[in-house]
Structure formats: C-alpha cells, structure tokens
Amino acid sequence: MEKANQKTSQSKNSRQKIRVNITDLIDTVIFLAVIIVAWQTIFWLKFYPAFLFPSPSTTLNTFVRLIQTGILPVAIYTTGYRLVAGFALVMILGIAVGVVMVKFKRFGRTMASFSLGLQAFPSIAWVPFAILIIGLNDYGILFVIVMSSAFSVMLSTYSGFRNIPPIYMKAARNMGARRFSLLLGVMFPAAMPSLMTGIRQAWSFSWHALIGAEILMASVGLGAILYFGSEFVRMDQIMASMITIFVIGLVVDKLLFFRLEQRVRSKWGLAS
C-alpha cells in the first residue's frame, strides 16, 4: 500500500512539473518581450545616437553577420575551450589540494584561513601579474581562471570531507572498506553535497574570470570581441557578444550544474 501511495504521488509530481515548466516558459517569453519593447522604445526616443545604442534589429543583424563570417563561432569555440581546460584544472587542483588539507591537519587549517582571503580576491587583479609572469597567452588566462576559483573547490572539498559523519566511516570499515574504496566509495559521495556547492560556485567564478581575462589578455574570444567593440565603437558587436555570454552562462548553469546539484540533493532527500 505504501508503494502504491508513493507511485501516485510520483506521477502527480511529474504532471505538476510539466505544468510548472509551461508557465515558466510563458513567463520567460513575456519577460523577454518586455525587455525588447523597452529596448526598442529607448532607441526610438533617441537618447543616444544610433551607433552608440543600436536597435534590437540592428543587433540581430550584426549577430547573424558575426555568425556568418565565422567570427562568433570561432570566439565561442576558443572561449569554450579555455573554459573547459581552465575548469578541469580548477577541479583537479582544488580536489587534490583539498584532500591533502584533510590528510595534513595543520596544513589544512592554515591553508583554509589563507584561502578564504584568496577566495574573496578579485580575479581581475591577477591579470597584470599573469601578463608579466606568464605572458599574453592562453596559459596566462588559465592561470587567472585557476586563481579565481580553485579555492572554492578546495575549501568545499576540505569542509565536505571533514564533515562526513564518523558513523559512515565506522560502518564502511566494519564492512571491509579500505583505502581507495573508502575514499572513492564513501568519502567522496558522502562529501558530495558540499562539494557540489563549491563546484557550482567555482564554475561561476571561472566564467567571470575568463571573460575578464579575455578582455585584457586575448585577441580571440568573446571577451576579445568586447574589447575590440569598445576600441572601434561597435556597440552592436558588444551587445551581440554580451548576449552570447549571458546565454552560455545561463545554459551551462541551468542544464549542467543546477541539474547535477539537484540530482545529488534529491538522492539525499535534501530540500531543493
């Protein structure tokens, strides 16, 4: 009987979910329409000259042209490649140092308070340092990404591991889990909710840092389009690039990180 109840409540949930998604979609469309109408109105009122404040249709034209000439696709590819490489480095370094911090307690304590300061440090402030030490290249940009967000992953690994309820470790050892199976089969999954929060924050920091670094350090990429747009007073290009940056950020967060986090949370039965 309990099973039956569970089933009906589940199907009701999924039906509700679909309905909620449809209303969400309608709300989003209305919201976008309002923004575009407001944009068009400001354009008509001619507060600014047309080259400084292009209309939505001009921006759309530029957008299409940037895609056709291959400028935007190359920029998206380059920026995406830097993001994936940088974020992979962030994850590897963050988790590795986090695990070392758990293992060596005194190092962990010192590093934890030190990196709280570094976590709040503006990533853009690393750019001059990176330019002089590494140079105006992809490695310099990767360095800025790592410095911006490895600390989030590190600290969440550290706190996630330290807050594992001892009873899990006791039970796992009693059932014969040792070393690697304990690390991979118990400690990592047990630390996952905390780790996911850190990973999602790190993704957001990485994205900020990457675009910032590209404006100052790159000749190709979405950030670089922003820089050249301001140098050559091409507001339509700036707008097109900004919209692309916004959409990529939204899509990656909603479709990847938010979903991953939700999956962990629903498994654990944590409030979402």
């Binding site: 099973k3 569970q6 009873i167 899990y168 006791k170 039970a171 796992a172 050892r173 009693n174 059932m175 014969g176 889990a177 040792r178 199976s181 089969g185 118990v186 999954p189 047990a190 996952m192 962990v264 498994k267 654990w268 039965g269």
Partner: protein, 277 residues
C-alpha cells in the same frame, strides 16, 4: 534450565570467548588526566547460533564492549577470541548494526545492501542475488530502488539488518538498533529479528537498555553493572518463540532482571509500573 546447564549445552559450539577483558579511557576530571576504567574483568562465552542480549545502566560501556568485539576499538588487557582468531582479525566476520542511521544516503536500498559485498569483490550477479534475498527477508522487496529519505525509521533499520546479513557474518552485533523507533515499529522489528534468527541461525549479540526487549529477544540476558563494568548476572530465557514483549509469561523474568538493574540505579526504558507488579 539454569545457567550452568545452559552454558554446558553451548560449551562445544562456542564461537566467541571473552576473558579478563579490561578497558579504560583517558578522561579529564578537572584537575588533569586520569584513567577511567570502563570494562573490568569481563568474562563471557557465546555459543554458535545464540541470541544474546546485553543490558545495563546507561553509560556502562555496553557499546564499548560491542566495539571491541567488532574490532572497531582496542582494549587494554584480556582476550577476545573468535574460535581460533583473536579479535580484531577480520572485521567482516563480525558485522555491526548501529543505533544511529549508518546507511549511506547516496545509495539506494539495493546498493546499500550490496556495499559490503562490493568491498569483497563479489561478482555483480551474485551481489545482486544476495542483496535481493536479504531485502526480501526483511520484507522490503518493493523498496529495493528507493532512496533512504523515502523510508521510515523502522524500514531503514530493516535495510541495515539486510546489509549486515548480506555479508554472512559469523556474528551479528546490534547496538540498540530499535532504540530510536516508535512502539509499533519496535514491535514489528522485534518479531522480525526473531524470525530472521530462526531462519539464518546467526549468532546475534544485541545490546539494549530496554529490559522487556532484552527478555523478549534473548536466549540469554547478560546484565552489566555500572562502570567499571562487570557482568552482574545472567538469565537464561527458556521460553518458546516467537515471543512478544508484552507476553505475560515473560513478566516474571522481566521483573527479575529489572530488580537487579534497579540495584544499579537505572530503571531502563520500561515504565515504572511494571516494576511494582
């Protein structure tokens, strides 16, 4: 049957011998460190297939005793021997079921029960079959794919029992496993653990602070004293199974255990009106 006859009957199929076990903790009583003796000369023999319940006043070192048997904690002196091996030799011969919720929330019921088998590198098919068998034994087949937050407290403890049994341990240790459950669930589980004991013939050492539970479940009840803990007295519960904790036939024995426990200044979990009967 008196205790001597009873012990004689388990003599040849003894599975665990504890002799002269001593354990103390380093404590702090305000003016510096000192040792606090917890276990003092514990001598206990457990027979193969026996359902042994251990009861004592709260804070008397019941859990410490179980932890030592499970190899989760060391001891100062004495011997703890599992027919031939000295404990701790291999943890999996002895599996512990905890009072707290020790199931893994990132795994579903089936995966939780398979966890210990996975540590032993048991093949996937065998793992699946074994887990299904024990999940069925505790009556949770339709919840095999559920996650823990979808289960009640009683169901979780049934999963924990299945997880312990799946490892086919020689001894199953249970540390107040029903302590956090409501009366109805405790009743169901008390019946179920007796059925499981009947089916599997597992040796079970069951710690509780509920006298009625101890008498209801145990073939023998071991009553511990306050710290430093010794064995105060043992009771043979020679009654047919399955038993129910409210069974009037158990009342006399329950009161006998309660009287001795009362001398240790602890009434256990049972309501005081039971004592005056």
């Amino acid at each position: 049957m008196n205790l001597r006859e009873y012990m004689g009957s388990i003599g040849t199929k003894s599975i665990l011998q504890i002799s002269k076990l001593e354990k103390s903790y380093l404590g702090n009583n305000g003016d510096g460190q000192r040792t606090l003796p917890v276990l003092n000369d514990i001598n206990l023999e457990v027979g193969e297939g026996e359902f042994l319940t251990v009861i004592g006043p709260s804070g008397c070192g019941k859990t410490t005793l179980l932890n030592i048997i499970a190899g989760l904690e060391g001891y100062d002196s004495g011997d703890v021997v599992l027919t031939g091996h000295s404990v701790p030799s291999s943890g999996q011969d002895i599996v512990m079921i905890f009072q707290e919720d020790a199931l893994f929330p990132w795994l579903n019921v089936q995966e939780n029960v398979e966890f210990g088998l996975k540590q032993r590198h048991v093949s996937k098919e065998v793992r699946k079959k074994t887990a299904e068998q024990y999940i069925k034994m505790v009556g949770l087949t339709s919840f095999a794919g559920s996650f823990l937050h979808q289960l009640s407290g009683g169901m979780k403890q049934r999963v924990a029992i299945a997880r312990g049994l799946a490892l086919n341990p020689r001894i199953l240790l249970m540390d107040e496993p029903f302590g956090a459950l409501d009366a109805k669930n405790r009743d169901i589980l008390q019946r179920q653990i007796q059925e499981i004991h009947g089916q599997t013939k597992k040796t079970i050492i069951f710690v509780t602070h509920d006298v009625r539970e101890a008498v209801c479940l145990g073939d023998r009840v071991v009553l511990l004293t306050h710290t430093p803990t010794r064995i105060k007295r043992q009771f043979v519960i020679d009654r047919p199974r399955p038993r129910r904790s409210e069974d009037p036939a158990l009342r006399g024995l329950t009161n006998a255990v309660l009287r001795d426990l009362k001398e240790e200044g602890d009434f256990g979990e049972s309501e005081p009106e039971n004592i005056t009967e």
